[in-house]
């Protein structure tokens, strides 16, 4: 895999970075695996199987998502050899992702627990998020494999406590960014209520990663789609870029990126084809509306976007023919500095690094497959 990058360097020189995977979905095999990171009270509250006759006695720590892919949530061959759930076993992840695909650095970003900020009990949700962060550090980022890094999940339903959690978990050298998953306040992510999160992130020099799906859990009042709720997973999926476009636009309009010129934001899971539609529409509205409604906006949405926003390739499976997408995106000079490879492993719609590398123009390859992620995350300095 690494030869894909070396051949892409325009002057034939070896590339400086290997393939960097900007987003991987890791999770525990059973919730018992993260119990030791939870406060005693919640551990007792959730309970253990077998304490009631017939194997009963444990409440599910995470709610069930509503719309599920008809073929299953994860790649069919991604389970652990002992029957563990996909994304839960270091050995399987190492073999299928890091070794087989030649990935030099991978960033762990959680699976279902990323929606914890939407759980109705705010204290429980906060403690689950903290425990999930500690579990990631303890079980994945403490010398297990030096190619692995992680995101800190943000308990965004309580922004002041979220800022405190960012300063706590963000101090760990292997936490290289922050994850906005579930929409805990059911507001656009640019809403001023959320600003303490961005203040803390900018202070810590940690970039923000927004993953699709944060408006889909059962307890959020925001909707995953405009115009009503869909009947099928396919529509949820085909329209998954809607809510992240809302969140990104509001972050630009409400001045987050003007206030923090060093803050970086990445959108993950929505593919990349939505970019021209959002930027042109909002650039027009910027000219008309910003002077009165958003006077703090000095730069248009497309200027802010090209400087401070990155978009993951995942899922590249829904992209059109390569030449069509190249034409579509090339209207934005510098777009090759925006598009950032992420596998999304082991979700059902994950991409293989070599497919993505072969899909984008050869001149973009080094940026897309490694350099953009390398520049985006805050890696350990030592």
């Amino acid at each position: 895999m690494s030869e894909l990058l070396t051949t892409s360097a325009p002057d034939g020189a070896p590339a400086a970075v290997g393939v960097v995977d900007a987003f991987v979905h890791h999770q525990w095999n059973t919730q018992l695996d993260f119990y030791e990171y939870l406060p005693d009270g919640w551990r007792e509250y959730l309970g253990r199987p077998g304490t009631i006759r017939g194997g009963r006695g444990m409440a599910a720590a995470l709610p069930k998502p509503d719309a599920l892919p008809p073929g299953g949530m994860w790649l069919s061959d991604s389970g652990a050899p002992d029957g563990g759930v996909p994304g839960s076993d270091l050995g399987t992840l190492r073999e299928q992702l890091l070794e087989r695909q030649g990935i030099s650095r991978a960033v762990l970003g959680f699976d279902g627990v990323m929606n914890a900020p939407t759980y109705p009990n705010p204290g429980y949700a906060h403690d689950v998020v903290r425990a999930a962060n500690d579990w990631t550090v303890g079980e994945w980022l403490s010398g297990q494999d030096d190619r692995l890094y992680g995101l800190g999940l943000v308990p965004n339903h309580l922004p002041e406590l979220a800022a405190a959690e960012i300063r706590r978990i963000g101090a760990h050298p292997r936490i290289v960014g922050l994850l906005m998953g579930g929409n805990g306040l059911s507001k656009f992510f640019g809403h001023p209520l959320y600003h303490p999160i961005y203040d803390a992130a900018a202070d810590m020099d940690l970039p923000i990663v927004i993953h699709v799906g944060g408006d889909s859990p059962p307890n959020t009042l925001s909707h995953a789609t405009a115009g009503g709720l869909p009947s099928t997973f396919a529509e949820h999926y085909a329209l998954r870029a809607q809510s992240v476009q809302s969140h990104l636009l509001s972050i630009m309009v409400q001045g987050v990126l003007e206030r923090h010129r060093n803050l970086r934001v990445m959108i993950v899971g929505a593919g990349v084809t939505w970019i021209p539609g959002l930027l042109w529409r909002s650039d027009s509205d910027f000219k008309q509306s910003a002077p009165r409604e958003a006077p703090w906006m000095k730069r248009s949405p497309s200027e802010q976007f090209l400087e401070q926003v990155r978009v993951s390739t995942y899922s590249n499976r829904t992209a059109p023919a390569a030449e069509a997408l190249r034409r579509c995106l090339s209207v934005f000079p510098g777009i090759e500095n925006v598009i950032t490879f992420a596998s999304g492993y082991p979700r059902w719609d994950a991409d293989l690094a070599e497919h993505v590398a072969g899909y984008f123009p050869v001149q973009w390859r080094e940026r897309v497959m490694g350099a953009n992620a390398q520049d985006f995350y805050r890696w350990p300095t030592s």
Binding site: D215, S222, T225, A234, A238, Q242, S246, G277, P320, R327
Partner: protein, 385 residues
């Protein structure tokens, strides 16, 4: 050639009444009394609209300042001034007027909403569709909180020569418009051969619908609301595919208004890529979503996206291809962001002009009383002279 000199059709014009009394007179007596009583101590506010998400434009004025007629009445409330400002200068062979902005089906009282919608349609037929001017055609507003009544309204006006389309605005049942709850509307429209128009902003009446105008929460500014205004219609489109509307009614045509264009490129790619998923979850998906789109839908051009380099827009559309057959010109007159046809002509390829300014709309509306092509139109005109 300096610009497009042929006939034009304007598929999105927002006309209105001079005073509420023009419409109220067509309400049954008890609802007339209801409308008058409700607003009797709140002068100056219209009785005939539901509450909207609050994000006003500056000065609370949504129209071009110069569209206020000399009499001082509401913009687009006077036929004569509309002829002078829109129809004559831009050589409009036909315009389709569709209310300012047709939110009456969304008033909270479900009975009143239906009566009011019927009164609006009566007003339209008596005032505007009775003009001796075959250039002015109209839309039939549908009482969407009660799809069976909407179907009855379509059948009532089925034979009216100037009703060009049935118009969906407010999402009255709180489901994307392809949902089976709305199917009586398509049954009736297909039966009488009436195209269905959809105009954006149908999910901004919070008391008539629990749906949201944007995914991810509600917008905080007009800026955000407007930049995201195509989202509901994108979802409507996927729902038409999933619920088999075009399989059940193969002759049904849709005109999607004020949704922009560029965002559809992404949506059609995403939906096509989900073909296998769609087939597993729906018994109705037999073609690629983009094929249904090419066969059954047209987009109005306004607001046409405005990248600094206008070739960029065409580059993005051409990366998918086929768009010259799916766009119908619209001004959105008299709104503040009205598109001038001469400006739009400069931003699209000359080879698209005949289709976008004229031919696509004739086909979408199924008009047979005017020539189908610009070429035939010009031939017929030269015979007359």
């Amino acid at each position: 050639m300096n610009g497009y000199a042929g006939p034009r059709i304007d598929t999105d014009v927002h006309h209105t009444w001079k005073t509420d009394a023009e419409v109220v007179q067509y309400l049954p007596a008890r609802w007339r009394e209801f409308a008058d009583g409700m607003m009797s101590n709140w002068p100056g506010r219209s009785r005939l609209e539901p509450s909207l998400l609050f994000s006003p434009l500056p000065n609370g004025f949504t129209n071009r300042i110069d569209s206020i007629p000399p009499s001082g009445g509401p913009p687009a409330s006077e036929y004569g001034f509309m002829v002078e400002q829109l129809i004559e200068p831009f050589n409009m062979r036909r315009i389709v007027v569709s209310f300012e902005i047709g939110l009456q089906p969304g008033v909270t009282n479900v009975e009143f909403a239906a009566e009011l919608t019927r009164a609006v349609n009566r007003w339209q037929v008596e005032y505007w569709m009775s003009l001796p001017d075959d250039r002015v055609h109209g839309s039939l507003l549908l009482p969407t909180q009660q799809p069976e009544l909407a179907a009855a309204e379509i059948r009532r006006y089925a034979d009216h020569p100037k009703i060009a389309e049935a118009l969906l605005v407010v999402n009255g049942a709180g489901k994307p418009f392809g949902h089976p709850v709305y199917h009586p509307i398509y049954e009736a429209a297909a039966e009488v051969g009436m195209p269905v128009g959809i105009h954006t902003v149908g999910d901004t009446t919070p008391f008539g619908t629990l749906t949201h105008t944007s995914a991810g929460g509600l917008p905080n500014t007009r800026f955000e609301r407007r930049s995201l205004m195509a989202q509901p219609v994108h979802h409507y489109w996927s729902s038409y595919v999933v619920h088999g509307v075009f399989e059940k009614w193969p002759n049904l045509h849709l005109l999607l208004k004020e949704t922009g264009v560029t965002g559809w490129v992404s949506l059609l790619w995403e939906l096509d890529a989900c073909y296998d998923l769609l087939r597993r979850e729906s018994s109705w998906v037999r073609k690629l979503p983009s094929e249904y789109f090419r066969e059954h839908a047209m987009l109005s051009t306004q607001p046409l996206d405005e990248p600094e380099n206008h070739h960029d827009l065409i580059e993005v559309l051409e990366s998918q291809g086929g768009w010259e057959n799916s766009l119908c010109f619209a001004t959105d007159y008299p709104h503040h962001d009205t598109d001038n046809p001469n400006y739009i002509a400069k931003r699209i390829p000359q080879a698209w002009w005949d289709k976008v300014f004229y031919e696509n709309a004739v086909r979408a509306y199924g008009w047979t009383d005017i020539p189908a092509t610009v070429h035939e139109f010009e031939a017929a005109t030269s015979l007359v002279h």
